[in-house]
């Protein structure tokens, strides 16, 4: 029998989370039952609407589901922490909203102050300029972009702090599936940009939590 990792949070500071998209409905219901028996806050990710709809009413009732981000929480969220620090989640287009929301929701679940700025793709660079002051004021920037992911390099040249890129699977033709955005972010001409898996807003948020955990609270 599999064991949930209830003591993970204390050990390495990551939010406890369940990745739902690859599990069967029956597996998810069993996990939700197990989690209901313990009080600590839990985040469920990639719980897209069709799968949520397949859950039993009692399982659904236990979850606080947020369709745009395909996330859900149980037992509320973690207490606010990292006072005075802020993460900015910046998305290139409307179609990147879902992945951006996954990052934002993960950060807020983890108690981190987060602002979300959408629709600032570089083909209309004046929109990005307008948003720049808010972006520059953030401690960590998460850039969410599909297609050519050009936003990543432009931001990378403008800000000095940590920049985490989340390529998205938005697009058709060569952009389909997100590998163009992924490779573009990895090959960015801006120095020191790091990248997570395609559509992995959750992972980018966790990377930000790693930084805040270490730098605001010191060694393990």
């Amino acid at each position: 029998m599999h064991i949930h990792d209830h003591d993970r949070l204390d050990r390495i500071g990551m939010p406890e989370a369940v990745l739902c998209s690859e599990k069967t409905t029956a597996q998810l219901e069993r996990i939700i039952d197990d989690l209901a028996a313990t009080p600590s806050p839990v985040l469920l990710t990639r719980l897209f609407e069709p799968k949520f709809a397949e859950l039993s009413p009692s399982a659904q009732a236990r979850l606080d589901h947020h369709p745009t981000s395909a996330t859900a929480t149980m037992h509320g969220t973690l207490a606010p922490r990292h006072d005075g620090r802020r993460v900015a989640v910046v998305a290139a287009g409307t179609s990147d909203q879902g992945v951006a929301s996954e990052a934002t929701r993960t950060l807020r679940f983890s108690g981190v102050e987060t602002s979300e700025i959408v629709d600032v793709g570089v083909a209309g660079i004046w929109r990005l300029e307008r948003a720049l002051p808010e972006v520059l004021a953030a401690d960590i920037v998460i850039a969410v972009a599909g297609m050519d992911a050009a936003l990543v390099s432009v931001l990378g040249g403008l800000i000095a702090g940590p920049l985490i890129a989340v390529p998205t699977s938005v697009g058709y033709g060569v952009a389909e599936g997100g590998s163009t955005a992924l490779h573009s972010a990895l090959a960015s001409c801006a120095q020191g940009v790091t990248v997570v898996n395609i559509d992995n807003g959750f992972g980018a948020a966790c990377a930000a939590v790693r930084m805040l955990t270490r730098f605001d609270t010191g060694p393990d």
Copy 2:
């Protein structure tokens, strides 16, 4: 026996050219001999230095070779034409210089006024800003960029005229070979950008010549 296409120029207005990189030294020497017998200007492309060095002294002597662009000409260039029109070749980095030069040399060989602007990658967007007036004044812009090719989308959002992207094979890791730059340019979030094969500065120049031929001189 293969026949050179001496009457091509008159027929469809493209510069007559020989692609050298895929031919053997013996084949090239025979072609150069054939071309020497006719007076019309010819352009040789992708004649990289090692291959040029393998040619016989007499074949070398017949060519005006330009190492940076790996091009050579015979019998001079075409007469200036398309008066008052100008093409701007814009390259993201020093490493894209060779491909940019191929485009510039092809255009000048074809009698087209051309300006070349190098090292304006978007990770240092203030450099691009400084060069923008010259770019905006051109009738056609050829953007040469490797790695993430973010320059293409940024330019595409700033200029209204034709923009032709040339992805380059510059880079290592995911950027090696140029397919990241190619896919990024094809997936550009800027509307109406067109793309040619990786490293094909010659092809981009020919696309510009097609436009100038048609729009300045009317139907075929």
Copy 3:
């Protein structure tokens, strides 16, 4: 909140357009509501029938939907312009009709005179010969082709003006998804052909608009 780009048309001359395929129904309905409040003509692309059918009746009623091209318009089209110029959209097979229509509809929406010639694949080269006079008379040719995209090279050797290739995702086996057609067009043995993303009829039309804008109306 995301801002629609109502002043784009004036700035760089591109048609204002909304790419629908990557947006949720809820996002699209909100965008349609926003657009209804302003008078300028708008084009919606990749609004395939299943997604159109999911829109609310009131959203549907605001759109002039064209199923073959998966496009829709609001507030009519732009006024005719570029008098005396004509674009020819040439498609290799019946299965390329949808993408060809997207190009044609975008051009007509933009006020450009356009003729559409379908089913002239090179395996039956006599059909192409019959259509050739009409193709040669056009100022810009957009070639739409899937599978081996051989039409692109054949046309490229016959016409002197600008030729924009749109590879399509038509086909099965190695042709599935369109990368064979894309690579074939990029590797075309005809000089100066440019290429857009797979199935991107809209982008090819925008590239034509860029040429017409610049060459018929002068500098920005």
Copy 4:
């Protein structure tokens, strides 16, 4: 110890051949020694010049080496057969000459009458038209083409007999290595075209020999 297949010819009618490019110099010299001891004609393929130059003088002396096709023969060739039948090897460009020669040399080694027609790519379709009568008169056509391999589809629509495509690795960017030409030939819009591996002129010739063997001489 490995055994050469000296009785293969009688059994299934294929020419006996040794593929050299993947063998070490020592292995090749041992094989040449073995073959010298038996009288039957043998063909060596993909014996490119650098490898030939590495062979010992005595091994070289035993071979009739042909650099363009990278083939060599020992003990002469097979007697002419399939009287009145002819194969046409048609190549798109000068750069495809080597692969075309491999096909031609294999056929002539096998006793088959063969004509070779080079530099008839479709971007200059009038050159193909001039060569068409000779192509149409052949019993089997082998089309050798790299890059977009458009020649394959055009020929496929014009001739009624067997057409075997040999994609070549000629080209750069997306054409490099030959997979674009391979996929293009496989996705050809012309019906009933068959394809062999990239650069496999030898295989195409063997496929022709299979046809001639069966149809001119009846069942096994």
Copy 5:
């Protein structure tokens, strides 16, 4: 408007055929209407059951549909020809049945005598041995195989006549989509095997028809 190719059969001897999988229901109904007006036999391929079910009852009534092969015919089949010649279609597994049937049905539609031998994969090589006499007696062999396509090489070493391989998309993991089978067939260690696109039973049959047309009836 697109023109059906009613005179194709006479010109180059290929069966007239309509590829259905990439066409919309509306396009297919229009084509079926057009074809109903002319008397010559027509073959429809890749008309899988879901698409057939979407056709109007009147369109369905005009077709003689065969679900296993996903083919249909109109106006009967062509008259028997190539007397005394026989093609063998050999399939490795039950799952290759559909593609094998497409080849068989195309050949019988074209008037060619054909035998079909299924489930003789090489992992049970004794089954292949039992079927061998029938295979050896055929004039042309079409080998249909997915996964590792090992059947192709084994057959290629046993028969002397033409062998056409049809890779299939059967399988999961690395076999999914058929590229493993395709590459395996192209890389076959047996000399002179030719290959068609994945799942293209129709194309293999047409290649056989090309041979029979040329060798039994002489020049074009």
Copy 6:
């Protein structure tokens, strides 16, 4: 003419660096001349020994070259900063040493205290255990690993602070070129790991510098 970015360091805190592998010898010599004229420290990366050997003696004399890491410096290094912080560079195998050294040298050039731990791949997990205390005490961990990059996930489960993965191109077969290591790191089952391009030790170091710059010195 291209302009070096001498004021970059002040603006966004990144070390000034020149990527050498994609530049010609002539380009590098010109850049070294330019840089010699200004006093600020500069790092050259991917200056592999063959290219270094091609430089003129005077250019070589200006550089402090370090062959293992393929880096060189001019005008010394930056002053130590980020007192009390330490980065650990952890490499799976001896073959990853070069890339690990690039990261270490970039960090030390940037004034950051760095320890390097090599040969702790997970196939000998007891070696990793021995090194763990030193790794856990670091503020940021850079994991350098080729082949299956399993080190990344194991470390990711053991440490709470930032973890940056550098996949390397070490290996043969499926590991060749590094895409297996890259994909493995991106798909890591450990939460919040970020990744840079293959072999990009420099980029990982820059990502660490971004964190230290922001968290130790506050907003831009």
Copy 7:
């Protein structure tokens, strides 16, 4: 007509099995009918629930279906054998359960004692440590893992006996489809690990049966 391989078990000791996912419902029903007529136990694999639901009630009634593993049996299982030997099937995550079950069910069907250990991914390496004694006591270990498949290398460094890796298609982005897990397992830094196709739990079980058959019962 295709022949089922009823005497296979005796011949080479493999369990008789039918791969269902690539067969049509009609083909499966015919096979089930055939198998019902003979008494020997049969295993059906990749019979996922949707396909099972499509079978006729009488076909369903003949099968003992196990949804998690997507397997079914007819005529019971084989008698226990290989007394004292045990195989351990170890899975990294809950999402790998289905593939692990396929392996377990195949082994138990074949009469082999098997233990199954799930949810021991290396990102929580303490869970693996707890399970290690049970794993070390097994004679053969089958490691089932998706995404980065890091479990394979960690296990490979800890156990001395045979280790067979089954990569799974679990995951999204670069992990989608399983090729990252496959390549990671093949590139494992642990010596002597062998690998089967993605999701092929059945194949891994058969490989274990091959070992047990040979080593416990001697030569064929």
Copy 8:
């Protein structure tokens, strides 16, 4: 400093080995020096001749180098063990000899009786038939094959014991690099075949050693 794993052999029974191809000459010389100081036998793999030639004479003198297999040993080999057991290494073609030798040499180094059978590709299946008795008598079979790797499936259907496939990088076109052979082996229609990385003869031998260790000597 990196530590060699001198106690590895005792712990998990694998031969101690050094992979040379990815290490620099300087690294190799240091490792050889370290190893010279301890008495236990060591195997060096992928020490191809050019790299061996670069080693200092003293390093060369310490090695017993075997060019065909690109292996070397120090301090002799391990004592014979697994009495009465034999492994057969079977290679499809002459070009697979090197990889086969790597497997054979690794096994003999490990004290395992091994026979090597070369040039039994399935295109000449009668040669395989002649070798079959020797193959069937072995306890473990290692099949080494490039190109289509059809040998793997044919052997898999004929033998009941463990079969380990080693795909090789032999071949050109689609066979180049070995991924066709790799995928073909993984997709083999024969049940229970396992696969190692391309060209990894060493790994296949280690997999055999794992089996012999466990089954002949019992639990760890």
